[in-house]
């Protein structure tokens, strides 16, 4: 193989396979961040619910009246 052909092959592989690797990394990072944000939002909601229950106001996750078990 000529040097030019080798260079073109290496650059092509780097760009295309590198693009794939970068896309996968980005997708994984976004998914992780979204999951973290979900967990934070759930934690905030639980905290708010606890505060609401303390103040006598049933929160979204408080047990229904009569203490019926949650499905």
């Amino acid at each position: 193989m000529t040097t030019t052909a080798v260079l073109v092959m290496v650059v092509s592989l780097l760009v295309v396979w590198g693009g794939l690797a970068l896309s996968i990394w980005r997708l994984r990072r976004d998914t992780r961040q979204d999951a973290d944000a979900d967990a934070d939002a759930d934690a905030d909601a639980d905290a708010d619910a606890g505060a609401g229950a303390d103040a006598g106001t049933p929160g979204p996750s408080a047990p229904p009246p009569g203490g019926a078990p949650q499905p």
Partner: protein
Amino acid sequence: MSATPSDSPTPAGVHPGKGGSVEGHAPREQWSGQLGFVLAAIGSAVGLGNIWRFPGVAYENGGGAFLIPYLVALLTAGIPILLLDYSIGHRFRGSAPTAFRRLHRRAEPLGWFQVGVSCVIILYYTVIIAWSASYLVFSFTRAWGDDPGAFLETEYLQATKPGISLDVVPQVLVPLVLVWVVTIAILALGVQKGVERANKVFIPLLLVMFLGLVIRAVTLDGAMDGLNAFFTPDWSALSDPGVWIAAYSQIFFSLSIAFGIMITYSSYLKRRANLTSTGFVVGFANSSFELLAGIGVFAALGFMAFQTGVDVSEVENIAGVTLAFVAFPQIISMMPGGPVFGVLFFGSLTLAGLTSLLSILQVVSAAVQEKLGITPRQAALRIGGVAAVLSIALFSTTTALFLLDTMDKYINEVGVVGSAVVMTLVLGLVLRRLGEQRAHLNDRPGLRLGAWWSVLVGVVAPAVLAFMLVQGIRSLLGEPYEGYPWWFLNAFGWGVVGLALLVAVVMTALRWRRSPDDFTPAELSPRALRRATSAGPPSPVTRDRTPEQGEQR
């Protein structure tokens, strides 16, 4: 049905007020997760064209230099249109006809035209998979003998001349029936248990087999000469507009865009799915496989040139049916351990074809399920049954090769490209809904799209595609394709395009068993919408449907 209960809190399968609702409908099927969707989308994109079309197109259009227009086409048209498909399917939660109908009442025929195009492709795609499966078996004994070209035409296909034949070829009929049985069985299991599970097995297997093939190919004598021919750049090709059109065509036909597949697949994604980053993964995975195919194919062709004592540039049959079923059998016959190489090559071809076929069939199945209110199993059996009969009647005969060649040429160059032109123009210029679609994509985790996306999808892509369409139609009208008789080209070339149009008209006229209009699309957050539509006022539909509050998680 295989909806994920945890993500389907209401009977409609969606979260009221945050992700679009379909009143009174059964829960919509869903992918089990992001991985299932990504693998299915890659399975759809990676098909026969990656293995037998890309290497030849690249070689004939500047070699290594072709990769520049190819990457430009990927980033300026391939991935942007892929994301447009995702945004339509995901936002309007339906197959192509349902999604377009929900986008605008009068846009439904476009969805059915895409279904019609898929119907035509299904008919001939199955027979190529059947041939590949046959050749996989032939590899063990090298049944093609010393002249694979003659074996293919006279012994295996028993090809006569362009026309209509009732002479059935048993050795094609049997694998064709088997391919249909396997495909219908997978489809009948539904999206999650059928299509997703099949892709989770087939795609890793395809990758392993193809990697094995490439590793073997590059270690053959003469492989470096083949790679040299493939990668040596002809920089002057970059000034040739034809090379750029070839690059856009390759990307466009290879990515499974604009004929309903990605609209249908993305409609099964969960509400908070990452659409943009997924699109880049699928786009680059498809190109990565194509590049790998280029290396494997040209290393093997280099070996064949070395063995026959000719230069790689003199090697014939470097693309399409003849590459797979003439050149590769020759290579397999010449090399030590040929049967193993044959199993790897034809196994890869069969798997790549099968995963793409499943996606095309799902377009038709989902559309009919939604229009007629039937289950996936009923749709698989009815559609699969009718398509199998037609496919077997047309393609197990002695005229299969000519029919396939003609139908493939016309339905791709006129049907698929025409559908893409109309879709991008309707979204961008007529309905002016690209801003909303961009807001929908940006409302989810993933890469943020700027105004550049709307420009690419609304201006660049339709301009290039319209040029391709006009050029394709002119060449088809100018001279008889491959010298086939005009009556044959009119009947099976323009005829199948007309058939797709007929499907659009008839199916649009049919009454919906379940109204597709009892649906509210996913709400767009005002912030994302403001950003996306800052170039112009939102459409009346957008104003009507924009909620006071942003979309909640």
